[in-house]
């Protein structure tokens, strides 16, 4: 691994970590798509500020871009306040326009703006290490690494300083308001940080795939844990893994780094979607199956207890009669009986099913406390 490769991965990891930090609260707040809008319109801010300053390295670019992000949010809420359009449409009416203006400006001033549409869509990670930050001739490393690092630090400070407020307003805005925290203020500050972060994401992976960094890692993490600090840590880990893995996938197949990062994020999400121990499809299906048998076992012991020692016992407790009485398929009934025997809940005596002490205990438990 060359220094160049290492630097690219470093920049990608820094960007992914920053996005995962602020993205977690976007997902919790159910405003994930606002990050799509913000990351699209950041382009307009960058282009306009560049045309004003004529300097692609001006910090004003970052500020302008972040302001455009906030402008987007403001416009969306303004549109919502008119009551003329609903939220989904409001988002979809604002960002395509601002983004289109950005693209038109780029084409218009193509000779001045060293930004082409490819870079807008794909990011320019591969070229990032060539842009060095030099102070007095001393090479301090890639400029982008410093930018991403600064953005990550902003995210960290924001998260640490307002962790309690962020958590409360995300989970229970009503309670937050009652307790005297302003959910609107926290929300606005958060979107401000998202806008700044979007500038970094834009640099790393371009306009469309910024969402892949903001949303996919936190969504994956939310499938894996219920504990917010763990979710945040997992989100950062998934983001970083997508960044590093994406780089190597792109390197191996000679393809787009940004695209590979997003794809790998999708793979991680798919794995969690299927295999998460608590929420994954596989675990759910398994749990569903198990619950079906457990329910059947409880039904069986209840049935036996009800008729135990009564005149009808001979008819009701015969294994062969179960399908008729409990309306089970014969094969299903046979399996339930076998499972019950294996679990030591029932025994066969003269062709009748008889509860063992354990079976009777379970049956009483179900009688008294229900099937749960």
């Amino acid at each position: 691994m060359t220094g160049l490769q290492l630097e690219i991965q470093l920049i990608a990891v820094l960007a992914a970590a920053a996005c995962a930090l602020s993205g977690t609260f976007l997902v919790l707040r159910r405003v994930a798509m606002i990050s799509d809008a913000i990351s699209h319109t950041v382009l307009l801010g960058i282009v306009v500020m560049f045309l004003l300053t004529q300097d692609l390295h001006s910090p004003l670019l970052v500020i302008g871009a972040a302001l455009t992000g906030l402008l987007t949010v403001g416009l969306v809420s303004l549109l919502l306040r008119t009551g003329l359009v609903r939220e989904d449409a409001a988002i979809g009416l604002v960002f395509p326009l601002l983004f289109s203006i950005g693209v038109i400006l780029i084409s218009w001033y193509a000779e001045y703006v060293h930004l082409d549409v490819d870079a807008v869509l794909l990011g320019e990670l591969a070229f990032a290490p060539f842009d060095r930050l030099e102070v007095d001739g001393l090479d301090l490393g890639p400029r982008r690494a410093w930018l991403m690092g600064a953005i990550l630090v902003i995210n960290l400070i924001f998260l640490l300083a307002l962790y309690k407020e962020l958590k409360l307003t995300a989970f229970d805005p009503g309670l937050a308001a009652v307790l005297g925290f302003s959910p609107a203020l926290v929300h606005t500050l958060h979107l401000g940080v998202v806008s700044v972060t979007a500038v970094g994401a834009f640099d790393a992976v371009g306009v469309v795939l910024a969402v892949a960094l903001f949303i996919v890692p936190p969504a994956t993490a939310l499938l894996l844990s219920d504990h917010l600090p763990v979710v945040i840590a997992l989100a950062v880990a998934v983001g970083a893994a997508s960044a590093v893995g994406g780089y190597w996938v792109a390197h191996t197949f000679d393809t787009s780094i940004a695209g590979s990062m997003a794809t790998l994020g999708g793979v991680f999400f798919g794995l969690a979607f299927l295999g998460s121990p608590s929420q994954g499809l596989v675990a759910r299906a398994w749990r569903h199956r198990r619950q079906r048998w457990e329910f059947a076992l409880r039904l069986l012991v209840m049935h036996l207890l009800t008729h135990e020692g009564t005149a009808t016992e001979a008819g009701e407790a015969a294994a062969a009669e179960l399908p008729a009485h409990l309306r089970w398929e014969p094969r299903f009934a046979a399996t339930v009986v076998r499972l019950a025997e294996e679990a030591g809940l029932v025994e066969r005596q003269n062709g009748l099913l008889v509860l063992t002490p354990r079976g009777r205990e379970l049956a009483w438990e179900v009688m008294l406390y229900g099937t749960g």
Partner: protein, 390 residues
């Protein structure tokens, strides 16, 4: 040369005419289908689906190595379909909400599409040139054959909408009622979502996958402001979509450096924001005007009531008073109100500057007071009313 002449001149060019025809067809399709997406609050689903179409498009090309649009469109349609399924499945099976599902599908599919696209670009064959134009659309590459494809798509979409008019209407406004009535809601839902895919296919070449959502949202949102009738809204959305397409193509044909897709989107956005401002009844300007007129009417009535009340203090409702006395009671803006009242002949101005009720004014104010407070003979007045004697 007027804009109309310019349009005719531009349209005399064969290429521009072809491209314009394609854009107009795209506008009609997406306008009509966007109406249903908008009414069902699925505007952003179109966004996710159009992005999701990219990998299908690219994979179709990679497999067939052919730019035959039928293959590409099939691939795109399939991928968009899978994307839509994902958007529906994720909130169904996990704790994640629809907004996160949209973001995940949109970005992951698009990212994978870019991966495949980059692979294609590195292929030694030259045939792949232009495929990346599906990102932003490359209207200039539209051929007559493509226009034909778009016409077929548009016709298909319109046909389905007309055939299923009643059912789609019911589904869009009251899906629960539709289900109770025994309509196959699930099937209709799938049909409508699949129709949106048709619109996306129509827009691939003209505006591209990135901006396609705007064409699904903007014409429909603009049309919504002008009418409360579904049929009118659908027609208007088609007209707006077509106008945005035509306008975008013509504008971008004026200069080399104006990309068609974004220009079409800007045109569509202008239509929306114009409608939001100026549409009758719903538009912001209209609402402001109506509110202003109402406020003025209320103020005028207030002044009239003050005049009547002052007069009744003198035992003569027609007793003239200086305008200054009214100002003290009714606040600023009295002169404007008096002008309005004088114009209606409810108040007459005496040469010495005093004002008095006319018989018509008296009738109007008693009418008003009867309606406002049937039991009180003394007119209620605003804040700074001096204490009236018993």
């Amino acid at each position: 040369m007027g804009p109309l002449d310019l349009m005719v001149l531009l349209l005399s060019d064969h290429t521009v005419r072809t491209v314009a025809a394609g854009a107009v067809l795209m506008g009609i399709t997406s306008g009509v289908l966007g109406v249903y997406a908008l009414l069902r609050r699925q505007s952003l689903l179109g966004d996710a689906m159009s992005h999701a179409a990219l990998p299908g498009l690219a994979l179709a090309f990679l497999v067939t190595r052919s730019k035959e649009s039928a293959f590409l469109l099939l691939g795109a349609a399939f991928a968009a379909w899978v994307g839509a399924l994902g958007v529906i499945a994720i909130p169904n099976y996990t704790r994640l909400k629809p907004d996160a599902a949209l973001g995940i599908v949109l970005s992951v599919f698009f990212g994978f599409g870019l991966v495949v696209l980059t692979v294609i670009q590195r292929l030694p064959t030259a045939a792949q040139a232009g495929l990346d134009k599906f990102l932003f659309g490359q209207a200039a590459t539209i051929l007559q054959r493509d226009v034909l494809t778009m016409a077929v798509i548009a016709a298909l979409a319109l046909l389905v909408v007309i055939l299923g008019w009643k059912e789609f209407k019911l589904l869009s406004f009251d899906p629960a009622f539709a289900a109770v009535q025994g309509f196959p809601v699930r099937l209709l839902d799938v049909a409508l979502t699949s129709l949106v895919i048709l619109a996306i296919l129509a827009g691939l070449q003209t505006v591209g996958v990135v901006l396609m959502s705007a064409m699904l949202i903007a014409p429909a949102a603009a049309a919504r402001q002008w009418t409360d009738r579904l049929s009118t809204m659908v027609l208007l959305a088609a007209v707006f979509g077509a106008a945005a397409g035509l306008g975008g193509v013509l504008l971008s044909s004026l200069g080399d450096s104006l990309p068609t897709g974004p220009t079409i989107v800007v045109c569509a956005s202008l239509l929306v924001y114009g409608s939001l401002l100026f549409a009758p009844h719903r538009g912001l300007v209209w609402r402001r005007l109506v509110a202003g007129r109402r406020q003025r009417a209320v103020r005028a009535l207030q002044v009239l009531a003050q005049l009547y009340w002052l007069g009744s203090q003198h035992g003569d409702p027609f007793y003239p008073h200086p305008a200054g006395a009214l100002r003290a009671l009714a606040g600023s803006g009295v002169q404007a109100s008096l002008r309005e009242l004088a114009a209606r002949n409810w108040v007459r101005r005496l040469p010495d500057g005093r004002v008095a009720l006319t018989p018509e004014g008296l009738a109007a104010v008693s009418d008003f007071l009867q309606q406002a407070a049937p039991d009180t003979p003394v007119p209620p007045s605003s804040e700074s009313k001096p204490e009236a004697g018993p």
